[in-house]
Amino acid sequence: MSTDPELRFQEEQRSTRRMWAIAACVLLSLAASFLLGRYPSPYLTPPRSILSDPLARSLVLNLRVPRILTACLLGIVLSASGTVFQLVFRNPLVDAGFLGISPGAAFGASLAIVLADGRPATVQVSAAVFALMGLLSSTFLARRARLGDWTLRLILAGIAVSALYTSGTGVLKYLADPIRQLPDLTFWMLGGLWAITWADLVQILPVVVPSLAVIYMMRWRLNLLSMRDETAFSLGAAPGRERFVLLLAAASSAAVLVAKCGQVGWVGLIIPHIARRLFGSDARRVVPGGMLLGCLFVLWCDDVARTLLTGEIPLGILTSFVGAAFFLAMLTRQRLGAQR
């Protein structure tokens, strides 16, 4: 960002306008999403059919609405947690899969499917438990390691824990019954919102809402936490404690949503980058901007996933493909640089 006050003011104005524009996009997309589906005809649901057809009304209110709201929450949470991880670890290539959260959730879900009864509640609880264990394991290992500063230790611990969980998941896939268990496992790994109900949405709100509130309210502290510990401390921050609170909020909200929706990749990695390009490097804008962008991205992907074909397209495939395409585009840009 420019040091000239006049230029900085103009940039902030532009950034604010973009924020409002994206917020408007989100609202319009939400409204449009309620009218997109397969019934009573593919793609567009005429509004009058919602009023006149009881089945259409039931499908919209009981299926589409909770699913759309969950898609929005998923995008918001993954983006917010990705932003937190990237700023806290000062590494632009980290997301929820980094601290053992997503690999832990995948392992927990696999364990429930292969070795337990495989019921949705069991899978979700197991996934959430192991996702949080991934975070705790990484933190515990980071405290015990004696190599570099805390950030580096946490990164290395996260890699090790993720690798352990990933290999465990591989073993479970190997043991899974190919007829009865492996398809369930595969679908969970690819992510999808087709089984979301109002009850599922209500279950995740008690964790997600406070976590997002913490991240939003502490977003300006992320600017300090993205600096070295000595610098942050000299500016009045308590880096260890604040970092822990933010990481816990990010990890727990991500764990709960991954447990419900399966693995949905690349959102937490790509959206913060796009948010920084649009809103600058100030976390006070990047966090809410990223939340809006993440909401929009996952909402659009889920609309395609449930509407385009007769069969559901796994959400993780769409987010990964689009995310990877954007990432490639960003890598190959001539003018590549991150604003500090």
């Binding site: 589906g37 397969r38 019934y39 009573p40 005809s41 593919p42 009881p54 089945l55 039931s58 499908l59 009981n62 299926l63 589409r64 495989g118 019921r119 949705p120 899978v123 190997y174 043991l175 019954d177 190919p178 007829i179 009865r180 268990q181 398809p183 369930d184 679908f187 969970w188 999808g192 087709w194 089984a195 979301i196 109900t197 390009r277 449930r306 385009l308 074909l309 007769t310 069969g311 559901e312 397209i313 495939i317 493909f321 689009v322 395409a325 954007f326 585009a329 840009r333």
Partner: protein
Amino acid sequence: MSQRTVRAVPMLLLIVMGLLNTGCSPAGAAIPSSMQSPTSTTRPRQPTPNATPSPVQLPITVTDAAGQTVMLDEVPARLVVVGRGPYMGLHLLYMFPTAWIKLVGLEQKGSTADDFLPLVDPGWTQKTILATGPGVEQIAALKPDLVITKGIVPDTLSNALAEVNIPSLFLSPETPDQFYQDVINLGVVLGQPERAMQIIDYYQQRLDRIQQRLSGIPEDDKPDILLLQYTERGGSLAMNVPAKSWMQTILVQLAGGHPVWLESAAATAGWTVANLEQIALWNPDKILLVLTYDMNAHGIIAALRADPVWSQLRAVQNRELYAFPLDLYDWDSPGPRWILGVNWLATRLYPDRFADIDMSSEIYDFYGYFYEMDRATVNEHIMPLVHLDVH
């Protein structure tokens, strides 16, 4: 972001949508013409055996499901069964009584090696059970003359076995045509071609019976059928529809139904999730639910009938929501029991035309003829699991 990038992204999206719609087979190989998807505009295809097997001549030469030419100097005395879905090959193999003694080992997939064959074969405990994913050395230790596996493309295991001169025979009973061909191949390989023809005759007689009784029914008058695989994950909100080329789709057609997912479903090679909106859009005349034997069929059907959305579907309102019967193994999937599935389905789609068919008798005939199970054994182990009228 450059304009080129902005233009490229929608193109990339279109490409991936096209790829998803086209799909590809799991092994990446071209699907043989016998497996090409039936369409609703064609009449149900009756399977026809490609050749009448001649008396065994040595060396034995067959072309298996993977297109390999398998040459054997003599009738194999030691058999091992491995690979995906081993029960399909095993149960097919056991339709030839001499195979019971020749089978020396098999791969275990899942929690048990097999739930059915211990009831049939008194020598079952003598078989060597290999853990999941056996290697060449583990298989070679059993000194097999032939390894039987499932697939349409030679895999790394069969290639490795060939290096130590252990031949592999691929089976792929995914369609009735392929089932017949596998039966013929096994008959030739086991030196029992006449038994193979008896098996095929048994199946063909029943298919001919169905076709004769359904002849003259216009395609447009055939009921719309939706076959769904119920899973705990999807519950009442989303279920799986089978691939176009799969046995489940073919069974519906052979029984005189019109599979509603046929025209619009993507040509994937696996189950595809269909959400409740799509199910409501299809709104078929009859819905068949494929369950596993450990699921409570009555409870699931009752819950769906009471569901506020499901209760508005035509099939549910007309009490045409059925649990597809099964016993220890499915009646809808590839494996010898598909003939029971198609028979049952015909009696439910056209009860007036098949009122004389007693499915209980069909079950006794099937297990007695192919597996030498007497009625008492069938009554003890099979019939308690069969629910013919859960709807």
